[in-house]
């Protein structure tokens, strides 16, 4: 038996709402964390995983209070410590790596000041060696040029660099226990893979105990020995990582794992009904019962967390459930073949730079365009996905198509109509034909309008309907997105994330569009809700024959939904082709790097790191856009723009021949985490 380092005993936590009622956030949590192990806390938003992790540092958010139980660190209750002892514990023996390092570093202090502060407070390093030690720490987290880094402010670093600095800061106190609160959320895929590998190797080197909080089962699978699955403030399943992922026992874990889109499966994953419950809304019985297909009357009573085979499971029916495969047959809808071209983009170039008066006088050369040389066609009724990391120009292209960013060169055509003109110059029919769905429904729905008012706007604008007609049509639209008509009088603030996104989709379909631009439409949603929204989008496409231009950073989502994929780097196309070809055939080095970095909820899957993850500010002036990060780059890549090479419907822009690509990509420059 291992030594326990942290022991959570019957821990319940809640806060008082405005009416003075106690709303419970965590209910009767029992968890023992052993020396040297890494435990993953997973669950969807609002399940209490972050709250639990922060409680392990005796940190309660404003207004929260402990209802019952305690958390012991090395046998002592954390909540009875004096504030001085607590301060020396936090950042010392227990370190935190926060979710958003960019906002968690003090913006007005240089990196050096923040690192030396940690050293001064939590280490025995004499003041003369602080600087030296700070440099060592930055080297330990594999930051290039650590001395230069010290003199910078947080905003001068990229997201990945900020996260590394945050890790270095936690390491400064020589922690025994490291709490990681969604440390890779919001980072690009390749950066995320790098940070995860760094954390893995640090753990091996230093033998730290880790609590890893994440909504991403793929990330958790990569780093945890054990997994605790949380739902509505309870741990509902607990066990070894491989066991939970391979043979989930709780119906929630089963359906959650099924709902995750996977690279190795075809089509859409099966979706879960309903939405996660609001915090504190479940007080009695199994919280998942409302969404569970196996629920019976018994589920109205509280279930206990009981051992079942290798795991601990909180379910009345455990053992009586049908065996679950994590990968089940996915819904594979037929796609239309030989359709007409709907959208045609030719030699598109977009530049945000407008030369000022003085620059024109001095005749300075304009900086390199943000997006350049884009050729794409999109057939009616199909889905084209634009793929790439942040700054790859995906959104810029979408803005140009929707008419709020004027292209500097090139042609965009929707059938015969010219889409180069800004939206205000387009006629009403053309406006109607191109609609957009945004990433975050919280931001894209006006918080002061009711659902009816939101749906009314396009109906009035495009069809000039009167009030009764609007209400009638709006109710139909809600039905189209599987929402009941009584939602018409709700405000967006009263809806859950998934419901809001459905309203946004209804608004988009109010115009009866032909081309729908989907900007990361599911990335703000929980996994269990995402699958249902993806399914809805696919069904709507079949029903209405609309064409989607889809932006997503999650390649598994792309694989599930798209027919065609275009890979972008720094505003230039690297590869265009059918989903099968891009994911399974010849690959551009960048496509390969992206795919290798993808995490899967599979204990055996390991991402491979190709090249480094340094973010770039500008595309290079000449040569291949990907030259600086490409592990296969040759001198000619820096001088000449690579040619397009074509096999079937798969176009790759690279100097290397297809054979070279396939042989060298087949064995990517595998950078082993241990000797990176």
């Amino acid at each position: 038996m291992h030594n326990s380092i942290l022991h959570v005993q019957d821990f319940s936590l809640g806060y008082r709402n405005r009416a003075g009622d106690l709303v419970s956030v965590l209910r009767h949590i029992n968890l023992e964390i052993r020396q040297g192990e890494s435990i993953g806390l997973v669950g969807e938003s609002g399940c209490g995983k972050s709250t639990l992790a922060l409680a392990m540092m005796a940190f309660l958010r404003g207004g929260s209070e402990v209802i019952s139980g305690q958390i012991d660190f090395h046998g002592g209750n954390l909540f009875t410590l004096s504030s001085a002892k607590l301060a020396s514990l936090r950042g010392g023996k227990v370190g935190l790596i926060p979710q958003n390092a960019g906002q968690s570093l003090t913006p007005t202090m240089k990196i050096e000041a923040q690192l030396t502060e940690a050293l001064r407070l939590h280490s025995n390093v004499p003041s003369k060696q602080w600087r030296q030690r700070a440099i060592e720490l930055l080297q330990q987290v594999r930051l290039p040029a650590p001395e230069a880094m010290l003199a910078r402010y947080p905003h001068q670093l990229s997201g990945g660099q900020q996260q590394r600095v945050a890790i270095a800061m936690a390491l400064a106190g020589n922690p025994e226990l490291l709490v990681l609160d969604e440390p890779t959320t919001g980072l690009d895929v390749t950066t995320q893979a790098h940070i995860l590998e760094l954390l893995r190797s640090l753990r091996l080197e230093m033998g730290m105990t880790m609590v890893f909080v994440s909504h991403d089962l793929g990330a958790v699978a990569r780093i945890s020995d054990r997994i605790a699955v949380m739902y509505a403030g309870e741990i509902i399943e607990l066990g070894r990582c491989a066991d939970v992922l391979r043979t989930p026992a709780h119906p929630y874990t089963q359906s959650l794992l099924r709902a995750i889109p996977r690279l190795d499966a075809k089509g859409l994953p099966p979706s879960l009904a309903g939405y996660p419950p609001k915090v504190g809304s479940v007080t009695q019985g199994c919280a998942f019962a409302a969404r569970c297909q196996h629920a019976t009357g018994q589920c109205q009573q509280d279930a206990q967390l009981l051992p079942h085979k290798e795991q601990w499971v909180r379910c009345h029916h455990v053992g009586q459930l049908p065996a679950s495969n994590t990968v089940v047959s996915h819904l594979v809808p037929p796609t239309k073949q030989n359709a007409d071209t709907l959208l045609d983009i030719r030699e598109l170039q977009i530049s945000y730079h407008k030369p000022g008066f003085f620059e024109q006088l001095r005749n300075r050369p304009a900086p390199v365009a943000t997006v350049d040389d884009i050729d794409l066609t999109l057939k009616q009724g199909q889905t084209l996905a634009l793929v790439g990391e942040s700054g790859s120009g995906k959104s810029t292209i979408m803005k140009a198509i929707s008419g709020i960013q004027t292209p500097s060169q090139g042609q965009i055509q929707l059938q015969q109509a010219d889409l180069n003109q800004p939206v205000e110059k387009r006629d009403r029919q053309l406006k109607r034909k191109v609609q957009m769905i945004f990433q975050n429904p919280d931001a894209s729905l006006n918080p002061r309008h009711t659902v009816l008012e939101i749906l009314q706007q396009p109906l009035r604008l495009y069809f000039g309907l009167n009030n009764t007609e609007c209400r009638q049509r709006a109710a139909e639209l809600l039905q189209l997105v599987r929402l009941a008509p009584h939602y018409l009088d709700r405000m967006p603030g009263q809806l859950s994330g998934g419901e809001k996104q459905r309203v946004a989709i209804a608004r988009c379909f109010a115009g009866d569009p032909e081309l729908v631009l989907c900007d990361e439409v599911t990335s703000a949603l929980d996994v269990s809700v995402q699958a249902a929204v993806l399914k809805l989008l696919k069904e709507l496409q079949q029903e209405k024959g609309v064409t989607y231009l889809f932006i997503a950073h999650d390649l598994a989502v792309v694989k599930a939904l798209a027919d065609e994929v275009a890979v972008l780097y720094q505003g230039r196309l690297c590869q265009v082709g059918s989903v099968e070809a891009v994911f399974g055939g010849y690959q551009h080095p960048y496509t390969c790097a992206l795919l290798n970095a993808v995490l899967q909820p599979d204990p055996d899957h390991a991402p491979q790191l190709c090249g480094d993850d340094t973010a770039e500010q500008h595309p290079p002036a000449q040569g291949c856009a990907y030259q600086r990060r490409c592990t296969l780059a040759e001198p000619r890549c820096r001088q000449a723009t690579p040619p397009w090479q074509q096999v079937g419907g798969n176009r790759i822009r690279c100097h290397l021949s297809l054979d070279e690509l396939s042989s060298r990509n087949g064995m990517p420059m595998l950078i082993d985490a241990a000797n990176f």
């Binding site: 936090r90 950042g91 968690s104 003090t106 913006p107 007005t108 407070l121």
Partner: protein
């Protein structure tokens, strides 16, 4: 960095130039002219003619503006109508007196305001906050002349600690103003403090709820270090520009306070100039006060440059 400072300086200069145009423009646009306003009912016959000739009113407006603004930029504010003296001589000492009053109030008021604002934010909705915020509402909303009158009643009439009104001449050395300056300075400092501390309080509350302050707590940084090293610089950023605007707004208050205490500053001169309808003098004072405002804004801009690394260095 230097480029940014130069940019700010250029902007300040531009604002002042615009103010020049506005001040001149307003007097031109409104009915009557400098002489009719000054002479009032006597504005007729030879007196009016003489006045107009003396003031070159027969010249076109643009030409007069050119002469006037050229003078202003060489530091010559023109001649007073009523006193028939160079405005520069009239203004110099009074400007010094007002500056002493304003700077004194700022030196007491601003640090106090920041301290109290931080304290109120940290003890939000508890007794210290209630007292400080409540007090600031009173100090902010009660008109300056009422506050001043009350202070006079208590400290000058009842307690007889300070003189009720100033009887010192404007040209007297600053040291002679010492007992007289205290009550006006306190009045001004009170109002100034109230505005600034409210701003600091609200901004501090925001910053204390931010991710990096929570993180600093979870890094085990001691409380007072969090407050003053991690949080306060960020909290001061949005506050600074508002503080500058408020101080400028309070310039109007200075005029009233000086009037109540009969303090020999630029404010009393201004009121007298208005009573006398001495437009050239009014224009000159408007320009001077606008310059003070622009200077305050400039200082605020420079202070935010110093505090905000984002402004100083692009990524």
């Amino acid at each position: 960095m230097i480029k940014l400072i130069l940019q700010r300086l250029a902007l300040a200069f531009l604002t002042l130039a615009t103010v020049c145009v506005l001040v001149f423009g307003v007097t031109e646009a409104l009915p009557g002219d400098v002489c009719t306003a000054f002479l009032g009912r006597d504005a007729q016959g030879t007196r009016l003619e003489n006045c107009r000739q003396q003031r070159n009113l027969d010249q076109p407006a643009l030409q007069r503006f050119a002469t006037w603004s050229a003078g202003v930029f060489q530091g010559d504010l023109g001649t007073s109508l009523k006193r028939d003296k160079p405005i520069n001589d009239l203004v110099a000492n009074r400007m010094r007196n007002t500056a002493a009053l304003g700077l004194g109030a700022a030196l007491i008021g601003i640090p106090m305001a920041i301290l109290l604002g931080v304290l109120a934010a940290l003890r939000r909705d508890r007794t210290p906050d209630m007292v400080i915020s409540g007090g600031s509402i009173f100090a902010m909303t009660i008109p300056e002349f009422v506050t001043a009158t009350l202070l006079i009643y208590i400290f000058a009439i009842q307690l007889q600690w300070f003189p009720a009104i100033t009887t010192v001449r404007h040209s007297a050395p600053l040291s002679e103003l010492i007992p007289n300056i205290i009550l006006p300075m306190v009045t001004l400092a009170l109002v100034m403090m109230a505005h600034i501390l409210r701003m600091v309080r609200s901004s501090m509350i925001d910053v204390m709820a931010s991710d990096f302050v929570q993180m600093a707590r979870l890094k085990g940084v001691p409380y007072w270090r969090i407050v003053f090293i991690h949080a306060l610089p960020s909290a001061m950023l949005p506050a600074i520009n508002i503080i500058a605007l408020t101080i400028a707004w309070l310039l109007g208050g200075v005029v009233i306070i000086e009037q109540v205490f009969n303090y020999p500053g630029i404010g009393t001169l201004m009121i007298r100039a208005i009573y006398d309808r001495d437009l050239p003098l009014v224009q000159a004072i408007a320009l001077i006060l606008a310059a003070v405002y622009v200077l305050c804004n400039l200082l605020a801009d420079l202070a935010s440059l110093a505090l905000n690394p984002r402004l100083r260095s692009a990524r």
